[in-house]
Symmetry: C2
Subunit: 296 residues, 2 copies
Amino acid sequence: MTRVLLPWSDLTVPPSLDATVYDGIAAPPDDLGDIELYVLPYDRGIAPIELIGAMPSLRAVQSLSTGVDNVHPLVPAGVQLANGRGLHDLSVAEHALALILAAQRDLPRWIRQQNRGTWERAHTASLADSRVLLVGHGSIGKAIERYLLAGEAEVVRVARTARDGVHGIDELPALLPAADIVVLIVPGGEGTRGLLGAVELAALPDGALVVNVGRGTAIDTDALVAEVGTGRLRAALDVVDPEPLPPEHPLWTERTVLITPHIAGGSASFHPRAKRLVETQLARFAAGEPLLNVVD
Amino acid sequence: MTRVLLPWSDLTVPPSLDATVYDGIAAPPDDLGDIELYVLPYDRGIAPIELIGAMPSLRAVQSLSTGVDNVHPLVPAGVQLANGRGLHDLSVAEHALALILAAQRDLPRWIRQQNRGTWERAHTASLADSRVLLVGHGSIGKAIERYLLAGEAEVVRVARTARDGVHGIDELPALLPAADIVVLIVPGGEGTRGLLGAVELAALPDGALVVNVGRGTAIDTDALVAEVGTGRLRAALDVVDPEPLPPEHPLWTERTVLITPHIAGGSASFHPRAKRLVETQLARFAAGEPLLNVVD
């Protein structure tokens, strides 16, 4: 029997594998000497990762995060490392849509009215017919696009490099003046820092909505504060720069801004997708087939 | 030239028609004696409707509302009446999705935190993987379904009569215990009054979300207040019974309830759809073809 260490007990495990459960909260099992595959508990800090050092028979490590920068240095040479790419995509896309619809249909206004017990009707903007600039067209961008098309919005795709049906990022200045909504789903780092700065924000038409579910650094926060402060632009942000946003930051109190604390990826849709990936990997491991999502 | 009276000036009008604009706000034109087609201004009260009596040459009236009960008695025999069926569907569907996502992704919580300037993360429910009971499967229900499928929810359809892929309303009691979300999109009237009463609400599992974008009378409000009062169920309601909801009503202050004041149909998506319908009707009228959406 090949021993594997798994974070949950509710998994379908091939009969040739002998599974032990370690959830990253309870104490780890003592006998780790013959563990050959270790599926890391999700989001439980560094201790479960350091446990790799107690597994001399290890052949593969499966992380459930997309980024494995903190795991990589602790994985010995010759041991495969697979990541959790895609497991959070749908959750992020769903939250992006929640932010867009909340802004377009003015949910903060209705919630304020509810707090006062006021029944007062008004017309709102809509997502339908809006021209939405999707900046970033990986798996999250594609998931957002499926929602937008279902809602009869017009989607304009932008990615780092132009390809069929997708504009290159260098075309962004020309596209901004005609956008009703801009959704940023770009990674962090120097390449995307200040992607929407004062000049780009000024190019957006009055009333445009800026949505960010990628990384906060992609928007120049001071420039955004200036534009939302006059009420010219609106924003719905799951990520900001800096994070956490300090209590006294002016962004909190802007009337046209909606802020959620970097929680787009953390919803219930993660677990079933993580479970499916782990079960697929267990079947491949048992059959001697190559794992998916191997990094390097 | 055939004279027509239209609510907007930004319409494409066939050359054989002579268009005059009346928006229902400014004073009506004096010379209405030879108007043959009258497109009623939308949502401007009874005065524009009574103007029909000043048009002896009238052959057809186009309303932009779905319900034409108030127009019908004022349309002379022999004059066609067409309604605005479908023009609000997408707006209602979009708002239903806004309510569902706001509840699942806990937007009221984030807005409360924003009001306090608090950055505090937490996991939420999701729409993805949820089993959604769509009660009502006309054009609004179908528009909601397109959104739900884009978001990888499981859709269970319920309509008045069972048909292929759609459960009959008599199966509702058997379906409620396995629903994560119930969306009501049923018309008013005695046939749907109290569709979700104490027994039906009790059949829902703990934490289920009740969404209503149809008519408030379809839910027994007292029974709902009891279930949300204990925190066992959640609700997101664009329609309630009574409307307007009085300022002191207990529903306003329930922590698990989100209320919008019957505004699902009133968004910017109406105008372009209404414009397209009117332009289609003008082309048909000019060509001597039968109008769409004729009632009776």
